[in-house]
Symmetry: C2
Subunit: 191 residues, 2 copies
């Protein structure tokens, strides 16, 4: 295992029933079900297009309680799209972090430990889709094709999803610890 330190630059909640946008807070009090009031709150969730192996709407385990993006990667996506900025709210993010190289490449089971005692566990890389792309497009009406360009240019730069391992508060400005596991590439059978 390796440990590194990062900074929580901002926290957000996605609490509008008819919008993917999140809005900024000073602090989130997370529980084991996720972020109270957030659209991704819960131990379970209905299967959506991300789970083509299950009938849509089937109750499955929710691996996507918390959405995380990084300052460095959002800046890189903005640079690739020639935009002045991409805000975490436009992606429905809950946490904006800074100080981790290749943030979206942190492997599943990576854990984040916060000063309050709260802990998150990474479950997956978050792949870009057109929902946030359309919100970015709506912010720059003078440009064209941003929704599709976002999906392409933000691949492996769109952050991570995580679940709450231990409850507590996540505060803007927190310095927190990141613990990455050692997961050797699995080599069974033909590639």
């Amino acid at each position: 295992m390796k440990r590194m330190t990062a900074t929580l630059q901002g926290v957000y909640v996605c609490d509008s029933p008819d919008s993917l946008l999140s809005s900024q807070r000073n602090e989130l009090e997370v529980v084991l079900e996720g972020v109270p009031g957030d659209r991704h709150f819960g131990f379970t969730a209905p299967a959506d297009g991300r789970y083509p192996e299950y009938p849509r709407g089937t109750a499955i385990r929710n691996h996507r309680q918390v959405s995380l993006v990084s300052v460095e990667e959002l800046a890189e996506v903005a640079r690739r799209l020639d935009l002045p900025e991409i805000r975490p709210e436009w992606l429905g993010a809950n946490l904006l972090v800074a100080g981790i190289q290749a943030f979206s490449s942190l492997p599943p089971t990576t854990r984040l430990f916060f000063p309050s005692g709260a802990a998150l566990q990474v479950t997956a890389e978050n792949h870009p889709c057109t929902g946030p792309g359309k919100i970015i497009q709506s912010q720059y009406p003078d440009r064209q094709g941003l929704a599709a360009a976002f999906v392409k240019q933000a691949m492996h730069l769109r952050g991570l999803v995580a679940v709450v391992e231990r409850a507590g508060s996540l505060c803007s400005g927190d310095h927190f610890e990141v613990e990455t596991p050692v997961i050797p590439a699995y080599t069974y059978g033909p590639q």
Copy 2:
């Protein structure tokens, strides 16, 4: 992602309040909280010695709903310990699988899809500890030092823990699909 097929040789439930032993069934009906009646049932669990970073008893997310072992690896541990057999019940296992090489090395986020529609997701390798070692020792009273020897010889052969991603039945004799993710070794920073 890679897909392979395996066989469910047996299913078990660990439902005795004062024992780590599991007992065999023909079928388990799993739900999103785990195996009903099992000691590891629930979305949450109290932190134990496996989580030294949290105070003992703290409510944390339960990553250990289901315990899986393999026919091939149990045979290898028995061979190393010069024992005629090690039964899955002695390890408190829920599922005994056959047909997967290096079963304990399947990485986190590997998924198992069963004919009923039930699906499990691997959360971690299970490391051997002295609890099951003592049960093995009790089965072979003529031998000495088996508890400690088990902990040493079963490393990376003691199976996996998993959570339920989709509810359904797991039946002895099922042929099921295993889907392994591609997780490149994470290369951030100094090793």
